[in-house]
């Protein structure tokens, strides 16, 4: 049986997983980004390499390749570029350094693309060649698959649907512009919608979901509107790549019963008739904690 390393680089912690070719995570170790934040990124990269070696030694196996999912990951160069939530700004080669250091292929892409690949290899997208994978978390990430291939674009940065404009001159987005889909449909967006609708007090999107499930009208409306906004943009997205499905992943997707109905209604109402009643709305088939590591490993398989 062949073994791979799947690395999920996040803003807070980085998980290094040892993954079998059938898609089981055999073992994993976790590094805290904060422990390296004041150092050069080289030390952080070296630590990832050490963790891969330790896992391989512990389980007496050879690593065939390393796949990495990272924020602002550039597939073509294997770099992280100007990631706003990482301590190291600028452009940093990750995959080329790990490839040399570990003497095996290393491939990097952004986390949503890695997720889409994981979904094709091990999840609900096994039989899909055309779909859009959408991660609903702090932001809204997307990985676009067409003809069985992830679309990377000329520079490696395709698939940033979260930064398509939903409302011209709308809410401020972390990207510095206004009205991005992500400013409405994300953990942050849900909290802002809650306050816009008159909600008060400290709360979380999860709390709002629980209150909605218990019938709180304001909280029901928060998720209903979230579905409306997303549905409107998904109607638009269909005109680009005509996907067979939208696949949802992330903490918010767990509350799908609260926003899928309004999402589907708005999407179908607003979609061009070429695409109407054709698109499946699916939830990820992978566990929340494993998907990024599995997807990253699948990238190099």
């Amino acid at each position: 049986m062949k073994h791979y390393a799947g690395i999920d680089i996040g803003g807070t912690s980085t998980t290094i997983g040892l993954v079998s070719e059938e898609g089981s995570i055999i073992d994993r170790s976790i590094i805290q980004i904060a422990d390296f934040a004041s150092d050069s990124i080289d030390l952080f990269i070296e630590q990832m390499a050490l963790e891969v070696e330790k896992l391989a030694e512990k389980h007496e196996c050879k690593i065939q390749g390393v796949g990495i999912g990272a924020p602002n990951g550039n597939y073509y160069n294997g770099t992280i570029e100007y990631a706003p939530n990482m301590p190291w700004k600028d452009v940093h080669p990750i995959a080329p350094v790990l490839e040399k250091r570990l003497s095996c292929p290393a491939v990097l892409t952004n986390d949503a693309n890695a997720g889409a690949i994981g979904e094709m290899q091990f999840g609900v997208a096994k039989d899909l060649k055309d779909f859009i994978y959408i991660t609903l978390g702090t932001g809204l990430g997307s990985g676009i698959v067409a003809g069985g291939e992830v679309i990377y674009g000329h520079d490696g940065f395709a698939g940033e649907m979260g930064h398509s404009i939903l409302v011209p001159d709308g809410r401020n987005c972390t990207c510095g512009r206004k009205g991005c889909l992500e400013a409405y449909v994300s953990l942050r967006g849900i909290l802002e919608t809650y306050r816009d609708l008159g909600g008060t007090g400290e709360t979380t999107p999860k709390d709002i979901a629980i209150r909605a499930q218990n019938g709180d009208e304001l909280c029901v409306e928060v998720y209903r509107k979230t579905g409306n906004w997303l549905g409107l943009k998904l109607a638009d997205a269909a005109t680009y790549t005509s996907p067979k499905a939208y696949v949802f992943f992330g903490g918010i997707a767990a509350a799908s019963d609260l926003f899928f109905p309004s999402l589907i209604e708005t999407m179908e109402f607003n979609i061009h008739n070429l695409y109407r009643d054709k698109i499946q709305i699916l939830k990820s088939g992978l566990p929340l904690n494993d998907a990024a590591v599995l997807g990253s490993a699948a990238l190099v398989m």
Copy 2:
């Protein structure tokens, strides 16, 4: 030298071209759709086959394949499906019938996809693997190329950017919905903008362009707004496939000096910084009258 047939099926006439592998149109014949409108589509297809045979006989060559560009063309099935501007509604197999009848491969796609392929083979997109081809005519058609491949989508209908929504609840579109980009940026859209801005009398987009070039302020404003609208949507489109270029084709593209400046200004102002100052705005490198035939032939080469 190898020879191919490139067929451009339009709403009014259909051109059958004999094309060399280097991309010259050696000869062509034209059928008027009206002559067949009251007949079964079978007669129309048979006439296309006869014209291909006549051209091959006249120039003493063998046809290696037939490429067809058609409105609402479905690449996967070789069908025309529910084309609003054709006398034959419903779904009609074109490529499979021609393939059997002429004993050579026949491939069909929509006209914008054929144009994009022509541009890669013979035009300005020779060195581009990621670009979006936009035809500005009666409507706004688009062909999306990613990683060197046309994106067809799961059903063959990807690339209908003209029917992405520019203005929610905006102008009526021929597709039955409201606010589509095509209702603003197309021959029809330009006439409506002219009237919205207070323009009167019988005119054409070409007349408006000539008047704009002579300094008529209202006409200058018509094209300036057209560029603004298109630029806004092109900023959005970049988030899907991160193209290296947008390539423009069609009668309106000839007036590019009137709308490219406002298009570029609005696009760059509204685009996410990942894509800023990276995208080329190009005009087609193929002659208006030859592009569709060359593109169709390139499809089967």
